[in-house]
């Protein structure tokens, strides 16, 4: 099995896909670093102060003002209210949720890329894992070896899993290393609040507790990895089902983007919460953001994703071992 996985890793490497992914990240991170740097500068200029409390207070007031506007959508109002009480909480407990520093950047970056950017990167790697063998014809050589089909597919799946881990690690390392040049490398021990739960309009703070930022980041990356793994598994399944890599990418792209759009529209369509693509934003549960649909929670979303992932895994293995190859 190790040999098989090694084979798959070799092919992945030689296809230069991982390299391309790293390049993409290395290109995007400085972009976002600069954007955030500008934002902080701009804020300082506007406020004439470097005191984050003042900035946060100003944000609270802004939120309050937006809340008092009558033309505001219900979902948006709910979101703002939760945001407001959370900001208030940070202020009262004297915690700056956005203290500049590379770890903070890492955290914010990964929170913002969990639902689209990272799944897309994973998709780029996984989409042609099986379909390229089918379209390139090499699958005929692969499957006429004295190795059972499920073992071959499993080796590909494990290679997928490893490359997902690798991508997530690259995101972590690159975002830390690059943003640190601007923001400095400190801030690992900054306390952060987690454990917010949302029930209706209320923000429940019973389970709220403090974790140091490094733990928070590790937890978030664990979730990011989980999301990427599920997206990877589903892409993997499509890659088994379809011969054309372009079709795999198309379908995944469509569903991921549909998810991003749905999240903003589905608050009244409750059963939409069983779609995998509206459940990708796991980090929001850690930071205590409003859920797009009532009744969603970290446990719920992870279970939905797990069900989709397991189903995709089974479909992939059953079709692959039974299918006739022409």
């Amino acid at each position: 099995m190790i040999n098989l996985v090694r084979n798959e890793m070799l092919k992945l490497l030689r296809k230069k896909r991982l390299f391309v992914i790293i390049l993409i990240i290395a290109f995007l991170v400085p972009l976002f670093t600069y954007a955030q740097f500008k934002e902080i500068q701009d804020q300082r200029k506007k406020m004439g102060t470097q005191d984050w409390r003042t900035v946060l207070q100003q944000e609270i007031t802004d939120t309050q003002n937006r809340l008092s506007s009558s033309r505001i959508q219900d979902e948006w109002r709910k979101y703002l209210k939760i945001r407001l009480s959370q900001q208030q909480y940070y202020l009262e407990n004297d915690i700056d949720p956005r203290a500049p520093g590379a770890p903070t950047f890492m955290r914010v970056f990964v929170e913002n890329s969990i639902d689209l950017l990272l799944p897309l990167l994973v998709m780029v790697i996984v989409a042609d894992l099986v379909s390229s063998e089918a379209s390139g014809g090499t699958i005929k050589l692969l499957l006429t070896r004295p190795v059972k089909r499920w073992r071959i597919l499993l080796s590909k799946y494990l290679a997928m899993l490893l490359s997902v881990s690798f991508i997530v690690l690259s995101v972590a390392v690159l975002s830390y290393a690059i943003s640190g040049l601007v923001f400095g490398y400190g801030g690992w021990n900054m306390p952060l609040l987690t454990g917010f739960a949302v029930s209706g309009d209320e923000l429940l703070t019973d389970n709220v507790h403090i974790v140091p930022q490094w733990q928070y980041i590790l937890m978030e990356f664990g979730l990011v990895w989980y999301v990427c793994l599920i997206v990877g598994t589903l892409t993997f399944m499509l890659s088994v089902l379809l011969r054309s890599t372009a079709a795999v990418m198309g379908i995944m792209l469509a569903s991921l983007i549909a998810g991003a759009i749905l999240i903003n529209m589905v608050s009244s369509w409750e059963s939409a919460k069983y779609f995998f693509m509206v459940n990708l934003n796991l980090t929001n549960y850690i930071s205590g953001m409003a859920t797009p649909i009532e009744g969603m929670s970290l446990g719920f979303s992870m279970s939905v994703l797990a069900v989709w992932g397991i189903a995709g895994f089974i479909i992939a293995f059953v079709t692959f071992s039974k299918r006739d190859i022409y």
């Binding site: 409390r53 008092s68 208030q88 407990n93 881990s165 690690l169 590790l218 664990g222 979730l223 990895w225």
Partner: protein, 267 residues
Amino acid sequence: MRKYTLTIVSAVSIAATLLWLFGLGWTFQDQFSSNKKFEQPKEKTESAISKKQDGTLTIFAMGDSLTRGTGDADGKGYTGYLLERLKEKSEQEVNLINTAVKGETSRGLFKQLQQSEIQRQAKQADVIVMTIGGNDLFQQGTTLESLDMNAINSKKQIYLSNVKKIYSQLRDLNKEAVIYHVGLYNPFSNLPDAKTTSSIVRDWNFQTANTAAEFENIVYVPTFDLFQLQVENYLYTDQFHPNKEGYKLMAERVASLINFEQEEKES
């Protein structure tokens, strides 16, 4: 070399897998076990202790939509123009912190004033400007239409007691800063009932000014006269909030009252 890349990437990937699995496991343990107790961070960071920024004049603005600047196309409001004026007048750095909330009533303002951060800001301020009462009285224009004197009187009593509480709290927090309470105008002074509405607003302003007089260094700034004539030229399209020109008038009036040298000496 090529061989090594494969080994290194594979080894790193395996290590990463374990790391992320660990992170995921920790998330489970952290998020799904509920026996955690929130501990208040013991140490407050030193910057939490209020400190005034030397050499800068800090204006703390609070209150309702007038302070927020609703109706001004540029979104500055009278506080924004006030800031501009003060900057012209003096070499000194001027800072503005605006915590006004649209639709705030006197009760809401008093509640807001209980927040620690608002209190900290109030403490640091050199000048405090505020508008309040408009929403108590007008409530989006409905009160004055009915012209029910009893209802208005009871509202006024509640309002005055709130204002008193606000004043005293501000004075407790900050003994030195001059507080400018910008008064109300009558947005309906070009409507048929102008006489009645104007007298109500005048009375409201008078009572507020009386309350302000009980405290030291609280200046009640009238605006009634500014909007008395040609009110339509100074109102925004909602016929309620001032427009840009109206806000500029208000800013000029407040600016003329702020005496720099005195402020500096006091601070």
